[in-house]
C-alpha cells in the first residue's frame, strides 16, 4: 500500500524542519482547493440565475399542439394561450425544485388571479406527471406533455422549473428561471400581469 508510505514520510522522526517546497505544498493544497471553491460560490451568488433573458421575449408563441396528460384532458395548444394573460410553467415529476414551488402555484390557483398552464417536460413515462399532480395537487388549467422538448426548445427553456408570462395576444413577455415564490410573485410577476391586463 503506497498510502502507508506517504504516511511514514509524513511522520518522520528526525526529518529537518520544513524540508523543501514539495512537502510544504502538500499542506498548502487544502487552502488552495478551498479558495477555488469559494471562487465558484462567489461567482454563482453574484449571478442571479432568475434574470437570464429568454431569446423569445416579446415574440409570439410559435404554433403548437401538445398531447394531454393521460386521463386528464385539456391539452395545451398555442390557442389556449390567447384571450387572457396567463402563466406557462415548465415542470416535471423528476424535478425537485418544482416540488418546492408547487405549493405556491396552488396558492395562485386558489386565488384565481391568473390561469396557469403547464408543460410537463421530459417525462420518462407519460403517466409520471399525472401521478405527480395527483400526489401534490393540480394548479394547472391546460397541460401539455412534452417528452422530447419539442415545444420547450421553442420557448427557450433551459431547465425546470421555469415560468413564462404570456400576454393576451399570446406573446411571451417575461421568463422567470427557478421556483416562483412569494417574493418573485409580489415584486415581479403580479405587477407585470396587472400591467399587461390593462394595456
Amino acid at each position: 500500500m503506497s498510502e502507508t508510505n506517504t504516511q511514514t514520510a509524513d511522520a518522520p522522526q528526525q526529518e529537518p524542519k520544513g524540508s523543501g517546497w514539495g512537502k510544504r505544498l502538500v499542506f498548502i493544497a487544502p487552502t488552495l482547493v478551498f479558495l477555488v471553491l469559494i471562487g465558484f460560490f462567489v461567482k454563482q451568488l453574484g449571478e442571479n440565475p432568475a434574470e437570464l433573458p429568454s431569446v423569445l421575449i416579446d415574440r409570439p408563441v410559435p404554433e403548437f399542439a401538445l398531447e394531454p396528460l393521460p386521463g386528464r384532458g385539456k391539452p395545451l395548444t398555442s390557442e389556449s394561450l390567447k384571450g387572457d394573460v396567463s402563466l406557462v410553467n415548465i415542470f416535471g415529476s423528476w424535478c425537485v425544485a418544482c416540488q418546492v414551488e408547487h405549493p405556491f402555484l396552488m396558492q395562485i390557483k386558489e386565488s384565481g388571479f391568473v390561469p396557469i398552464h403547464g408543460i410537463d417536460w421530459r417525462e420518462k413515462d407519460p403517466r409520471d406527471g399525472m401521478r405527480w399532480l395527483q400526489k401534490y395537487g393540480d394548479p394547472y388549467d391546460h397541460v401539455g406533455l412534452d417528452p422530447d422538448s419539442k415545444v420547450a426548445v421553442d420557448f427557450g427553456v433551459t431547465g425546470a422549473p421555469e415560468t413564462f408570462v404570456v400576454d393576451k395576444q399570446g406573446v411571451i413577455r417575461y421568463k422567470h428561471i427557478g421556483p416562483v415564490n412569494a417574493e418573485v410573485w409580489e415584486k415581479t410577476l403580479k405587477p407585470l400581469i396587472e400591467k399587461l391586463r390593462t394595456s
Binding site: 498510502e3 416540488q99 395527483q134 421556483p179
Partner: protein, 667 residues
C-alpha cells in the same frame, strides 16, 4: 416586550463574544492566568444570553404573538402545541438561533467539563468557539433577525409548511444541529492545537469524546430525516441523494473518518496533521451544508427561503473561519512531529485505509453535490446529478471498507498478522460465502442477482467478523462461561461501543441491499372490493372516505392485507389537504413485521371513472436501516460512558509514557 428582550440579549451576547474570542487568546499567549480564565465566565454569560433569546422566541411562538413577523409567517393558532414549538426552528431565522444556542451550549460544556484541560488549550479552544459564535451572532443580527415586529399584527399566522408538521421532523433539526455544531468542538480544538503548535495523545483523548458526541447526534439526526422522508413523502424511498441530505451526510462521513484517525493519534501518536485537517474539514462541511441550504445556490426540497445576501454572509463567514484555519494549517502543520511508525498491515494501517475510503467517499459526494454549481459557472449548462451517479461511485467505495471493517479490529498495533487474523475469521468468511450462495440461489440464480447476493454476503461477513472479535476478547468457549461473563462485564465501553456500531453497519448494508434490489411496487386505480397481490400479500381496497383533522381535511383509504387468506394487517393511509398554508401531503400507512414493511398510499379519486389511485410497496429489510442506525448511535453513547472519558484526563507526560508501551488490541 419579550421579543425585544430576546433581541437585546443577542446584541449583548455578541459583545461578550468579542471578549471571549480575544482576551483568553492573548492571555494564553502571555501565560496570563487571569486573562485565560475569563473564557469561563464569558462562555457562561453567552449561554445565558443566547438561552434567554431562544426562550423569548419560543415564548412568542407558544403564545402566538403574531406581531412578530417570524411567528406570523410560520405559525398559526390552530397548530398543535408540538408544532408551535417545532415551528421555532422550522424557518431560517429560528433555526439559525437554534444553531447558535447549541453552539454556546457546547462552549459552556467545555467550560464545565474541561477543568482537567491544560489552561492554555482550554482558553484557546473557547476563544475559537467564541469567534465562531460571534460570526453567527453577527449573521443573525444583520441579516436574519427573528424578532422583527409587524405592524399591524395579522389576526392569524400563515402556518408551518404541513410537510414539516410531523413528530419525526420536529426533532430532526435539533438532532442534526447537535451533530453539525458539535463538530465545531473538534474544529476549535484543532485550531487551538495549531496555535499552540502541539498535538499529542492527550489532545486526541480530549477531542474524541466531543467528536463522538457530535457524531452520535448526527447519526440520529440523519436517521430521523431519512425515516421521515420514508413515510411522509409517500414514494417508499428513504434516501434521495438530495443536496440537503448530502449536506448532512458529508460531515458524517468526514466525522466518521475523524473518529477513527483520532484513535491513531491517541494510541500511537501518528497521523497527527491528517487528523487536524479532518477536524477542520468536518466542521467545514457542516458550514458548507448550512451555506448550501440557505444561499439558494442549489435548490432542494429542504431548502429554506433563499436569499443571496444571506448566502454572501455565510460565504464570508465560511471564508474567514475555514480559510483562516486552513492557512494556519498550511503554516503550522508541517512542523508537527509525528510519532510511531507502522507497517501497512496493522491496526493503524487498517484505520488509515478506513480514512482514505471515507475521505474519498466524502469527496465523491461533495463533487456530485457541487457539480451543478461548477457546470453552471463554467457555462456547461444547467445539470442535475442524480442517484445513478452516487450509487455508481459510492457503492464500490463501500465494498472494500466493509471488508476491511471485518479484519481491522483483529489486527494488532504497529505490525499486524494478516494471516493470523484471516484464519481467525474463517467462520466469518464461511458464513459470508454461505449467505452469498443462499441469497443467490433463493433469488433464482440469475446473473442479475449476483450483486444483491454479494451485498448480503458482505453484511454477514461484517456481522460474523464483529461477533468473532467480541468472542475473542471475552474468550468465549476458550475459558469457562463465567470467566467470559466477567471479561464481558470488564470490557472497555469504547470497545463495546465499536462492536455495536460495526454491527449497526452490518444491518445497514443488509437493509440497503434488500431495499434496493427487492423492493416491489404497484401503482393502479382501485375501486372498493378490488384486490391486488404484491410480494405474496393480497391487498384488498375497502374504499375511502373524507375525514376532517384539526387543520386539514383528508381522504382516508382502507386496505385489508392478507397472506394466504390469513389476515395480516389493516392499512389506513391518508391524503391530507392542509388549510394553512394550503398544501397536500401524503400519510403512508406502514405495517412492519420487523423484517419487511408493507406500505400503502392512497391518492386522488380517479378522474375518468370510479375508484382511487393507490400505490402499494413491499419494502424488504427497510426496518434494518433503523435498527442499524440505532445500533450505531447506541454504540456512540456506550463508548461515551467509557471510564477514560470520565476519569480526569492524565497529564500529558503520563499519557506519552502510556502510549510508548501501547498494548495491542486495547482500542
Amino acid at each position: 416586550m419579550i421579543a425585544e428582550l430576546g433581541h437585546y440579549a443577542l446584541v449583548l451576547a455578541f459583545m461578550v463574544s468579542l471578549v471571549q474570542s480575544s482576551v483568553p487568546l492573548i492571555g494564553a499567549q502571555r501565560g496570563d492566568a487571569v486573562m485565560m480564565d475569563l473564557a469561563r465566565p464569558a462562555s457562561i454569560a453567552m449561554f445565558l444570553l443566547v438561552g434567554t433569546s431562544f426562550g423569548a422566541l419560543t415564548y412568542s411562538y407558544v403564545v402566538s404573538d403574531f406581531s412578530v413577523i417570524n411567528v406570523a409567517q410560520n405559525s398559526h393558532t390552530d397548530k398543535p402545541m408540538l408544532y408551535k414549538i417545532s415551528g421555532v426552528w422550522g424557518n431560517h431565522e429560528g433555526s439559525l438561533l437554534l444553531w447558535i444556542t447549541i453552539l454556546v451550549t457546547y462552549s459552556v460544556a467545555v467550560a464545565f467539563f474541561g477543568r482537567n484541560l491544560p489552561p492554555a488549550l482550554r482558553a484557546r479552544t473557547l476563544a475559537v468557539q467564541g469567534m465562531i459564535t460571534g460570526g453567527f451572532l453577527l449573521f443573525i443580527l444583520l441579516t436574519s433577525n427573528p424578532f422583527l415586529r409587524l405592524d399591524p399584527a395579522p389576526i392569524d399566522g400563515n402556518g408551518l409548511n404541513p410537510l414539516l408538521q410531523d413528530p419525526g421532523l420536529a426533532f430532526h433539526p435539533p438532532m442534526l444541529y447537535l451533530g453539525y455544531v458539535g463538530f465545531s468542538m473538534a474544529f476549535s480544538f484543532a485550531v487551538a492545537a495549531l496555535i499552540e503548535g502541539k498535538v499529542d495523545a492527550a489532545w486526541a483523548r480530549w477531542v474524541r469524546p466531543w467528536t463522538l458526541l457530535a457524531w452520535t447526534f448526527l447519526t440520529l439526526g440523519i436517521a430521523l430525516g431519512s425515516w421521515w422522508a420514508y413515510y411522509e413523502l409517500g414514494w417508499g424511498g428513504w434516501w434521495y441523494w438530495d443536496p440537503v441530505e448530502n449536506a448532512s451526510f458529508m460531515p458524517w462521513l468526514a466525522g466518521t473518518a475523524l473518529l477513527h484517525s483520532a484513535v491513531v493519534v491517541e494510541k500511537r501518536d501518528a497521523l497527527k496533521s491528517w487528523t487536524i485537517l479532518l477536524a477542520i474539514l468536518t466542521f467545514g462541511l457542516s458550514l458548507l451544508g448550512t451555506f448550501l441550504v440557505r444561499s439558494g445556490i442549489i435548490t432542494s426540497v429542504h431548502a429554506f427561503a433563499s436569499d443571496p445576501t444571506r448566502g454572501m454572509f455565510i460565504l464570508l463567514l465560511m471564508g474567514v473561519s475555514l480559510g483562516g484555519a486552513l492557512l494556519l494549517y498550511a503554516l503550522r502543520a508541517p512542523d508537527l512531529k509525528g510519532g510511531g511508525l507502522f507497517a501497512p498491515i496493522s491496526r493503524e494501517g487498517s484505520l488509515l485505509l478506513n480514512n482514505l475510503l471515507m475521505a474519498t467517499a466524502t469527496a465523491t459526494v461533495l463533487l456530485g453535490t457541487l457539480y451543478p454549481v461548477f457546470a453552471d459557472a463554467l457555462n456547461l449548462g444547467k445539470v442535475t446529478v442524480g442517484p445513478p451517479f452516487f450509487n455508481a461511485v459510492f457503492v464500490p467505495l463501500m465494498i472494500p471498507l466493509v471488508i476491511a471493517m471485518g479484519f481491522g479490529p483483529m489486527l494488532s498495533w504497529k505490525r499486524g498478522d494478516l494471516a493470523g487474523a484471516l484464519s481467525r475469521l474463517k467462520a466469518a468468511a464461511g458464513a459470508a460465502l454461505l449467505a452469498f450462495g443462499l441469497a443467490w440461489v433463493l433469488a433464482g440464480g440469475a446473473l442479475d442477482d449476483v450483486l444483491a447476493a454479494f451485498g448480503f454476503g458482505l453484511a454477514v461477513w461484517l456481522l460474523v467478523a464483529t461477533l468473532v472479535e467480541l468472542a475473542e476478547r471475552v474468550k468465549l468457549f476458550k475459558a469457562p462461561l463465567a470467566e467470559s461473563g466477567r471479561r464481558f462485564a470488564r470490557l472497555p465501553r469504547a470497545a463495546f461501543g465499536m462492536t455495536l456500531a460495526h454491527l449497526g453497519m452490518a444491518f445497514i448494508v443488509a437493509g440497503v441491499t434488500a431495499a434496493s434490489a427487492y423492493k416491489q411496487e404497484s401503482v393502479q386505480v382501485m375501486v372498493a372490493g378490488q384486490t391486488i397481490t404484491v410480494a405474496g400479500y393480497e391487498f384488498t381496497f375497502q374504499g375511502a372516505e373524507r375525514v376532517e383533522g384539526p387543520n386539514y381535511s383528508a381522504v382516508k383509504g382502507h386496505f385489508g392485507v392478507t397472506k394466504d387468506g390469513e389476515p395480516i394487517a389493516q392499512l389506513d393511509p391518508e391524503k391530507r389537504e392542509y388549510t394553512s398554508p394550503p398544501m397536500p401531503t401524503t400519510e403512508a400507512a406502514i405495517h412492519t413485521n420487523g423484517w419487511a414493511d408493507l406500505y400503502a398510499v392512497v391518492g386522488d379519486p380517479n378522474e375518468d371513472g370510479p375508484g382511487f389511485v393507490t400505490r402499494i410497496y413491499f419494502e424488504p429489510l427497510v426496518p434494518f436501516l433503523w435498527y442499524g442506525s440505532g445500533l450505531m448511535a447506541l454504540g456512540g453513547f456506550v463508548s461515551l460512558t467509557d471510564r477514560r472519558h470520565r476519569v480526569g484526563a492524565p497529564t500529558r507526560r503520563k499519557v506519552a509514557a502510556a502510549t510508548a508501551g501501547a498494548k495491542p488490541a486495547s482500542a
